[in-house]
Symmetry: C2
Subunit: 417 residues, 2 copies
């Protein structure tokens, strides 16, 4: 049996590594997980350098990882780091996100070994609950914004990967999401379709009508006004997307998804620069599965809209609700409808900021090429939290590759990364 | 502890009761339940009378019951028959269907006590697997159609109830059902809507479009030609439906369903005499629930059409498939579609047949009123099996009331029934 580190022991291990290179460490307790008696692992905060002449960079990584076990099909014991002959580091967390975390400490060691001064003050914020939803992080950022993080100039989040294995990149945008729940209620309980089919009002009929009115089979959103504030794609961006080195398999993430677009640039624009509306589920809202031929009495339809700059969530919500209510009214249904929305904003940074310029220059120095400025289709809530709470430029700095096996078996980090 | 009778002991108990009144009993083994090592309980066959001058009536009942336990909220031990002060018989099976079964034996006893000859030859077919789907019954009917049942003139199934507690009735029609599975396939696996929303083709969009094209919120089926062969409702039927004594609660079965019709006759016509199309489910066809914001890769939509005389299932299937395929083609989708249909016919008998006339006359003699000729919205597969295999007139003779608690707690049979 391997020794198992508790989250709190893991935070101590990280703190010791940090102290060994001279980082001034503070463990910030986050209290108990809401609704439970479980103590959250602390934030490991650290400071290295305090020169008022230098910029101060807040570095975020996380020291928790996904579960793993040899029986899942790992070549090596996942919780022992194995270095393969080609220098590849194998093990859980090598890419997500223990590897990048240790990379920062190694970097300080390297500066120290060659006797060069680190050209920035570093403030560290290492989290232990990222893979579980970052419980407590937002509240901690709010508490420390004017205290521990008061002098932070910019933020660097080292928890992303390149856009493809072949293409160095820095993402400057992430789509937002507005998640919708539409509840339609008819009877008090599910009814037998033999006894009541044709006699009573069926929520499913309204539901599919409303769902079908939102988006067409080519991915075009049918809600009037939804595209009004979408930031246009520049010709330069379009041309740069054509040039990106992304295999077909990387582009579709191995899902075997059938493309709505016949070239890479259009596909990337659809993913990064345009809103999309996906229909997720229609679920029976009453307990018990019921007979397969029953008429469901109450249904919840789930869909979401991925938003992009410069759509305004509040305005989108108004037009979405109006569209659904108008459609529902047009059906002449006897059922009731209710709409709930859960918005989370898009993220977009100016790549002309010195924080980004430094990252671009560093990439060029190490790799000899400029990184592509890209986006991501999904959201990273913590990036938005840092930006909204600290009100500083936030850089997402990739360390690994998309095929590193993050959240999967045989996680690795290539020596080159 | 009460002694628990196995299904096979129960069949012996029934056989003994039958033999006691002079019925010639044969137990017909049904072999093992398909795919299991479980012996099916036998059919209990019986003959009483063999006069070539008399009609021969096949009587069907079942001796198995639904599960029950005192803890479910029964007033009396469910597997001990309790007679309340008002003569009401309480216990599991009193109404469904041990009570009606024993009623036939009591009837023979009563004829014997008063020294009157039973005016028909009786052939009994008592089943022990009705509540589990009548495994083996159809095959047994096919085997015995030209043997044990060769001289049967008509069939009487005593396993239905009145249309309402207040209204004596004899159902002459049952709707059929064509159950549809529509499978739409896009990617090989569910995709993240952040990463792929707008980029790949989504099966759910096609699915809701197809579902929405089938029926409107007022219950009108939108498939061209679907109503072409529907038997018109006669003015006499319409007038008789107005007069039926059915409470609002009975009419909607306590579901709290919202009526599509503003009077009883229209509601009953929608349930009994018109086809209906109900949308049941849209289910993810791949294992694992997936994230709530995922794009499902493969979905199964389930709907059914309740059919009425004189719709032809094969013709309906042709127009339904054409409608769905045309709609799917119009979407310009990149996904694949597949359609499966599982039909079961409607049932309709001529109430002018002497089998029905006898039942109507018997009702009038006992109750002093004519039973209403009604229908049922659901199907009773065994009724259709008897009709198709024996090719004789089949009568569904109600014994109990709809509120007898069949399949529920506190099952009872009123003394008057």
């Amino acid at each position: 049996m391997l020794p198992v580190l508790t989250p709190s022991q893991m935070s101590e291990w990280v703190a010791a590594k940090m102290r060994a290179v001279g980082i001034d460490v503070t463990l910030k307790p986050l209290g108990k997980q809401t609704g439970t008696d479980l103590e959250l692992p602390p934030l490991v905060l650290g400071r290295y350098g305090n020169d008022p002449q230098k910029p101060t960079v807040l570095v975020y990584c996380h020291y928790d990882v996904q579960p793993a076990s040899l029986e899942d099909g790992w070549k090596h014991e996942p919780f022992v780091m194995t270095v393969e002959d080609n220098g590849r580091l194998c093990g859980r967390g090598t890419s997500d996100d223990k590897g990048p975390l240790i990379g920062w400490i190694n970097m300080i060691e390297a500066f120290q070994e060659v006797g060069v001064d680190v050209p920035a003050n570093l403030v560290f914020c290492f989290e232990g609950m990222e893979e579980n939803g970052s419980f407590g992080l937002r509240e901690a950022l709010e508490e420390e914004a004017d205290k521990y993080f008061a002098d932070v100039d910019v933020v660097c989040i080292a928890d992303v990967v390149w856009v493809s294995d072949e293409q160095l990149s820095i993402p400057q945008g992430l789509r937002g999401i507005i998640f919708y729940l539409v509840t339609i209620t008819g009877a008090k309980q599910d009814a037998h379709s033999g006894g009541f089919g044709g006699q009573i009002s069926e929520p499913m009929i309204d539901m599919v009508n409303i769902m079908a009115s939102l988006v067409d089979s080519n991915g075009k959103i049918l809600i009037p006004g939804i595209y009004d504030n979408v930031q246009p794609v520049t010709e330069k961006e379009y041309e740069s997307y054509k040039e990106l080195n992304i295999s077909e398999d990387s582009l579709y993430g191995g899902t075997g998804g059938r493309s709505l677009h016949d070239n890479q640039a259009d596909a990337l624009i659809a993913r990064w620069k345009k809103p999309s509306l996906s229909l997720h589920r229609i679920e029976n809202a009453l307990p018990g599965a019921g007979a397969v031929t029953s008429i469901p009495a109450k249904l919840v339809g789930k869909f979401s809209i991925r938003t992009v700059p410069f759509m305004k969530a509040e305005e989108i919500d108004v037009i979405v609700r109006k569209h659904i209510q108008d459609r529902f009214a047009s059906l002449g249904s006897k059922n009731d409808i209710e709409i709930e929305a859960y918005p989370s904003d898009w993220f977009y940074e100016d790549a002309g900021h010195w924080n980004y310029e430094a990252a671009i220059r560093a990439t060029r120095n190490v790799w000899g090429v400029d990184p592509a400025m890209t986006c991501e289709g999904g959201s990273i809530p913590i990036a938005l939290d840092f930006k909204k709470i600290l009100k500083k430029n936030v850089l997402l700095l990739p360390v690994g590759r998309p095929t590193d096996g993050q959240h999967s078996t045989n996680e690795k980090l290539d020596k080159s990364n």
